[in-house]
Symmetry: D2
Subunit: 340 residues, 4 copies
């Protein structure tokens, strides 16, 4: 499509090993993808780390604040509690990356303020923004609390979040949904559409991401790129694999034990390779209370309903992916990062 037709892209994330991987790929393909800005939120690690990590990643690609502004957002979920995943991503969130501290800084505007202003401008210009979220959805939910009208400036939200079957941080819930289920529920409700309209919330959950896994051979390919981003990704995935072996779930499939599911990169991979993921339209209910807190109940056109009186909103479930095509697209994009 002509450049003029590319919607502006903002990535909201909580780097995090897989966020870093996704960001390197998005930066490598930033012109094709229309990448304009990055916002960060607390999630895999605290906001101090996710902010610092976003800056370290930008440095590693040779970009500066003018080329890719970064805004820091909310330091805790809507309810004020906290959960992190430092056991998976390492103390600073980028274990194994070998990236130095950043020389740069984030923009003065809070991510929520930035999102409100940018999306209002998008609505005014009739050129709505594509938002990719790779962490808890606190920033977008907070922006909607202050200014619900910003939905008019959103083309769509593609979120790495949830699962149509089992979870990972609990047996019911995926990490990003579990950390701030109220935020996910708020965003989903704001983006709801009637049944005859294409869903505006695209859910890239564990059902998809557990089928897109990097093994030792894939890690070696990144190392072989010989670039700072390539080596960083190889180092992080290696550290990840050494720490986190997905246990086999009897009778339930899942990722192989010696490969790392590439959660966040799946969303960027799909933008790079539009045919590599198939979705199915359905509905999602976010469980807010009880032992299943953070679960994303999934229903499909002809399946059992996601019962109950909670909000059941229309989404597109991304459930089938061509893992090889996604991984190749990601690798190529990372290879396109400018040499530092």
């Amino acid at each position: 499509m002509p450049v003029a037709a590319i919607p502006p892209l903002i990535i909201d994330c909580d780097p995090g090993v897989d966020d870093a991987h996704a960001l390197f790929a998005a930066i490598g393909a930033r012109q094709r993808l229309g990448l304009e800005a990055v916002t960060v939120v607390a999630g895999n690690v605290g906001l101090g780390f996710t902010r610092a990590n976003a800056l370290r990643i930008r440095d590693a690609t040779g970009l500066d604040a003018a080329a890719l502004p970064i805004h820091a957002g909310c330091p805790a979920p809507l309810t004020g509690g906290t959960t992190d995943a430092a056991d998976i991503h390492g103390q600073d969130g980028l274990d194994g990356a070998g990236l130095p501290p950043s020389r740069g800084d984030v923009e003065p505007a809070h991510a929520v303020t930035f999102l409100i202003e940018r999306l209002r401008r998008a609505a005014a210009q009739g050129r709505p923004v594509r938002l990719v979220t790779l962490g808890p959805l606190t920033n977008l939910a907070a922006a909607l609390i202050l200014a619900p009208d910003i939905v008019d400036g959103l083309l769509e939200v593609r979120a790495m979040v949830g699962s149509a079957a089992r979870g990972n941080i609990t047996s019911a819930a995926e990490f990003n949904a579990f950390v701030d289920p109220e935020a996910l529920d708020r965003v989903a409700a704001a983006l709801d559409v009637p049944d005859d309209v294409a869903p505006r919330l695209h859910v890239y959950g564990l059902t998809l991401t557990h089928t897109v896994c990097a093994d030792a051979a894939e890690i070696a390919r990144y190392a072989a790129l010989g670039t700072v981003p390539g080596r960083a990704i190889a180092g992080m995935l290696g550290a990840y694999l050494s720490r986190h072996r997905t246990p086999p779930l009897p009778g339930m499939g899942g990722a192989p034990a010696d490969a790392a599911p590439l959660h966040d990169p799946c969303v960027i991979g799909h933008l790079l390779a539009p045919d590599a993921v198939a979705g199915v339209d359905g509905r999602m209910t976010v469980v807010l209370r009880g032992p299943a807190r953070g679960q994303t109940l999934a229903s499909f056109g002809d399946g059992a309903p996601a019962a109950g009186r909670a909000r059941d909103v229309r989404v597109r479930w991304m459930v089938d992916g061509d893992a090889a095509a996604l991984m190749a697209a990601l690798r190529d994009a990372v290879a396109d990062c400018d040499p530092v």
Copy 2:
């Protein structure tokens, strides 16, 4: 094993097409299985129908009340609400069976009273009972409410209930668990054991039963038995298949669209063919509130915990089955029913 070592067997059920199938097989093998009595509960259809159906099934095998006493139990779940599955099993619960009304009657004692007396006797005699439940667990839960000491008379409970992944009546919940989640929670808590003791509650959920499906060929084999039970099963499965095609769930496996999952028979099949099902010890939390009501959150030895503050009790998850072996064992047992 020697006959003396066979534990007494009681089957609590809500017939229902698949209960009928299971009962025919259990009656055919009643001496091998130590089958003593049947109790019925509201579930697939109302108690008036489940009681009548249990009697019709007994008649079809030529047995009488002396050979197989039947006790009627609770007409509604613990909380008093009701849900049925007449859309699946037909108005009277045995659509397609072609069985005439019964000439017999149930015993005067309420199923709950019977269970309390029988289990107390079992405890006093040091010969605990094996209980198989094929419907909502209301009867056993009510017995535990009146007399919690009866756990001492229970060897184990093998329950067709729940799912370690998705549900069927809602995207989260399996039917038996959904109809009376408070009962399942009560029973599970009463049967909880420490981590170093073998679980006393064995859960045969959809994860297993969706892999044991009867297709047209299997139905033909039942018809070919030429007996009343064989023709009844063939008729019911045929009607079931004509009414209920399991929809394909994108990216999630599940039963083939043109075959009927044999939920309840799986438990009896496993008693008949002990090597045909593999279980894994873990824990289960029953979701009582919210949109996931009736869900059975599953955790395994090395998987993600079934998080939250609810009761998380030790169970054995039956997750892998040899469908051919189970179906053959069931068929052989049905063939052994006495000619009427």
Copy 3:
């Protein structure tokens, strides 16, 4: 009214100091009240104690099993958990009563079985029973679980339970409601009636009972009776007062600090002095979950609704009492107990 018109009375209780007081008064007036039987349940103390205490109280009035049969019921709430109030009522539940162990025993039939049989007989005879409940409502709820048809044998249920404002065991919940809210909810739902029918569930909650308090002078009047029941009541209330001083709640009224609220006796007092309590018809919702668990939300004809999606059932709130008249009626009835 003529004796023939007196409905049969059954008292379900968990003695307990105030249950004992209520039982002595009811036994003293047993012919006027039509008292037939007593059932006991776990509550203030465990079932072992409440059963023993009911027998000790019967002994102290010179009655035997033929004159007043006692049936033991459920040893724990519907969900299986337990809460007691031994800190208020003493280790054995009758601290200060000075009553010896009983020589008698309870009937062989479980209280739930007894209630089912008696209420079915009442329905068949067209002579429905008045049930007074002075403890958690587990027994009646369990009977309804086994046999919902028994509502036809119930004239009305008069329950000491709940509060139209603040609670006592928590700031939201009264003790009997808190111990088994699922039972109260089940009973209330079973007794619900349309808005143009007189409520069948009469709620004697803290709003009433906190206005009917015994002080030192009232205690002295019981001691002056010179009978075993009189001295037992004086001893129990004295011990109660020495242990439990109701704290003043700023700005919220409530019982005086040096007087004991006569919770359970209020119901019997009202039967003895029908003009001494005024009720108002309204609705009640039982809170089952969260920090307000066990609360009984009250709405009146023209007040704010008891909002939410929970069961909101029609009840009569007993809210205004003539404390002096109630206490005089109770004292007179206790004085009428036969000398032992």
Copy 4:
């Protein structure tokens, strides 16, 4: 106290009849009270109306944006739902006030952005702000979501919210708490302090405000002031009384049927007459789910605990007021408004 010692005062409100009354009094005494700014939120009526009403009230006192800046905040509660009280306050929220549309406008900065910047400045200067909230607490909660550090700039929050006993919009919940319980819970948690520290959240609930009621005589006194604010208050209270007669709650006290409870003015009245209200330190739990949603469970030093696992935070319950002193202080302050 010397002027230098007066903490800066910000009033967050949702005018609303009683907010208008409170604002007129606060503006009349603005120098004594240190009033700096007003923020508005959706509540009694939608944000469009509450914003317009705050401007109309400012106009009626002859002030302009320089003297009293007004910032518009969130148009809906944190979860995105809405509830209003237009049945009480009239279609535009100020029924009966007779105030013309405003000539002025609100500040460009969102109330949440303003609060964050002002409170951070307060923290930096060591001169923390006193915040009075007279509506749902959405604005402050949203500010805490974006920037939890702003608690350091808060001296205290005095909130008209909740009840230590019954509610008004439901039998359990007061209006401001019911509209956004998640916001109240978030604010309360952020302001929690250890038991040996004076509470920072002062709760002016229905327990107090139902004892401070304006009758016809009080309304006449406002009319007699002969000023625009006086006539507006008289007009609004008259319209309120004609529309909303508090029903008598049997056995439960409450406001007289022919007088209007002055909810919001109580907080300002207390600032004007510090001895006219007595508080008691205790704890508060906000009920977020179920039929009691929005209830504020109250416990006091020596009362029953606000049970459960929810957040139970330290607050000061304002429970006893000198109604005459409060009403006199309010009237005097309104009389001090500059003539327009």
